[in-house]
């Protein structure tokens, strides 16, 4: 009982007390013998920072579990392991973004390609997907780690201008703009988005702009505002197959609503290219994926990207299955057969991943075909 011992006993002298304290502390600080043995003989630091990525040839030999069993969490297969982002370009981009108070979906959604895109691809052009309207979304989807809040901070009125400046500084020829969902704003942020695009085009008319927009809760007027702002590619992700929409996305998002957004953008401006993206590995079946692709093509969507879902934090959905690179190739062929302008399909492919290279290559191919 504490009360009885609240006052030191009169017999205790200082040395005895001190020794007592030390012996108690030693009890807490000493390791058991087995732990000591583990430290001596177990893995050392080098084994944790091995740095080498597995060779592509070894991907076929990977025999780990790819389909999740009950209660299991799947290990990451070798084709999804990426380099730690480092380098001059990476740091330069990061500094520019912080100085101008800009956010990127690359950081907020923990994209595995961040090192590669920010570092600059084969041609050395670094690209980032700037996320407008802040880093906090008003919806909580179960696959996305972007921060969520009921009342995110108000819009930064300088953002359109700062974004345009930043992008002009990077000397890019293709840029992707995206945003969080802002259901708290009356127009969902459409005017802010459109303003950014028009500023950008003013400063840099030759740049190709792709916008990955929210669904604006189905508000087609807002869709129109963005569609006519001068962008070249209108993107909006359906994220998954029709059957899994309710499980994977926020309940305020729906497949038909998203399809309507994509259709409307093209109706308002037919010269636009429309684009969407699907995540695989959430428990969908092949027939569901095929049916979804077919529906998208019938809705007039021009481009589709397919990527592997990866669990961002423990509060999000577990990966149900890791799709092999061969299977992704299969879907690419399916997409091309169905008539999409281009299908980007791969485990690490994301909506805006190397979007520029694909687009430019495509255009160049078409131009050379026309010449011939």
């Amino acid at each position: 009982m504490i009360r009885q011992h609240a006052q030191p006993r009169s017999g205790l002298t200082l040395p005895v007390t001190a020794r007592f304290v030390c012996s108690q502390l030693r009890v807490f600080s000493a390791l058991s013998d087995e732990k000591k043995a583990l430290l001596q003989e177990g893995p050392d630091l080098q084994e944790f920072i091995n740095g080498g990525l597995s060779d592509k040839k070894s991907w076929e030999e990977y025999r780990g579990n790819l389909k999740r069993q009950k209660g299991e969490r799947l290990r990451l297969p070798p084709w999804l392991k990426t380099e730690i982002p480092l380098g001059k370009n990476y740091n330069k981009l990061k500094n520019t973004l912080r100085n101008l108070n800009l956010h990127t979906v690359c950081e907020e959604a923990r994209c595995p390609n961040i090192g590669e895109c920010w570092g600059g691809g084969e041609k050395g052009t670094a690209t980032a997907t700037i996320m407008l309207m802040g880093d906090t979304c008003t919806r909580g989807c179960r696959f996305c780690s972007v921060k969520t809040s009921r009342n995110p901070p108000p819009l930064d009125p300088d953002e359109p201008f700062n974004t345009a400046n930043a992008i002009a500084e990077w000397n890019l020829d293709y840029v992707v703009l995206t945003s969080v969902d802002r259901d708290d704003l009356p127009d969902g942020g459409a005017k802010h988005f459109a303003a950014t695009v028009s500023h950008l085009k003013e400063r840099h008319s030759k740049i190709i702009v792709e916008c990955l927009t929210p669904d604006f809760r189905g508000d087609l007027k807002a869709v129109e505002t963005v569609a006519v702002s001068g962008l070249d590619v209108y993107a909006h992700n359906v994220e998954t197959v029709r059957e899994l929409q309710r499980t994977v996305r926020d309940p305020r998002a729906r497949f038909d609503q998203s399809l309507r957004v994509l259709k409307h953008a093209k109706e308002v401006k037919p010269s636009l290219l429309s684009k969407t993206s699907i995540m695989l590995g959430l428990g969908e079946t092949d027939s569901q994926v095929y049916a979804t692709l077919k529906e998208l093509r019938e809705a007039g969507v021009d481009c589709v990207t397919l990527g592997q879902y990866m669990q961002p934090t423990k509060r999000h959905l577990k990966v149900d299955e890791y799709i092999t690179p061969e299977k992704f190739k299969y879907w690419e062929n399916v997409g091309n057969e169905l008539g999409f302008l281009y299908t980007a399909s791969g485990p690490l492919v994301r909506s805006s991943y190397k979007a520029g290279e694909f687009f430019l290559k495509k255009i160049l191919r078409e131009r050379t075909a026309e010449k011939n």
Binding site: I2, V21, R139, G140, C141, F255, R315
Partner: protein, 216 residues
Amino acid sequence: MKPRPAPSHWQPGTCGCDVSSSNSNMAVSGFRRLLVISECVLLKRLCQPAPSRSRHLSISRCGRNGLFSSSSRGASSNDAWGRRLLNTGARLQSSKDKVSVNFINRDGEKLKAEGNLGDSLLDVVVHNNLDIDGFGACEGTLACSTCHLIFEEPIYKKLDDITDEEMDMLDLAYGLSETSRLGCQICLKKWMDGMTVEVPSDVADARETKDIDSGS
């Protein structure tokens, strides 16, 4: 929106001076006594001013017990104060403020977890690493309905009133029932010890989803 509960490491003390009797290790209780002695000396000096200052410290949505609830032993006010403040240190090891909750997962599996008084049910799920898929996507900011839980009728009746914001999000939840609440808004109280909550299934079957979609 009601304030989120204070972090669980800050716990207002409850009345009672007993050191946990489950701790039979002499060495540990000896050490604790020493801790208690040194804290007592320090805190006796801090405790000189009026008690009201410390009442500001318990701002948890869930913690109702003030630091200075009346002592049943009739000790002098300063002594009682000092001892109760010390209690927080001792209590880090006591099991008196742990509440156990049973979860029935979507597939019927029973999961048992413990949380501290004042933790929300979302905190319990996350801290105990429970295998509930996609729970708490918005981190407890009332912007999703992924922490939707179904309570037993008698427990549901005793829960705190639902706020409008919670109601808005709960309305979007799949499989809504009469005794549904959002787990991030329910904070653990002593009377909840041993309660069972059910995690509703997220989607019944593909056909049903199609109906919902076409109706929208």
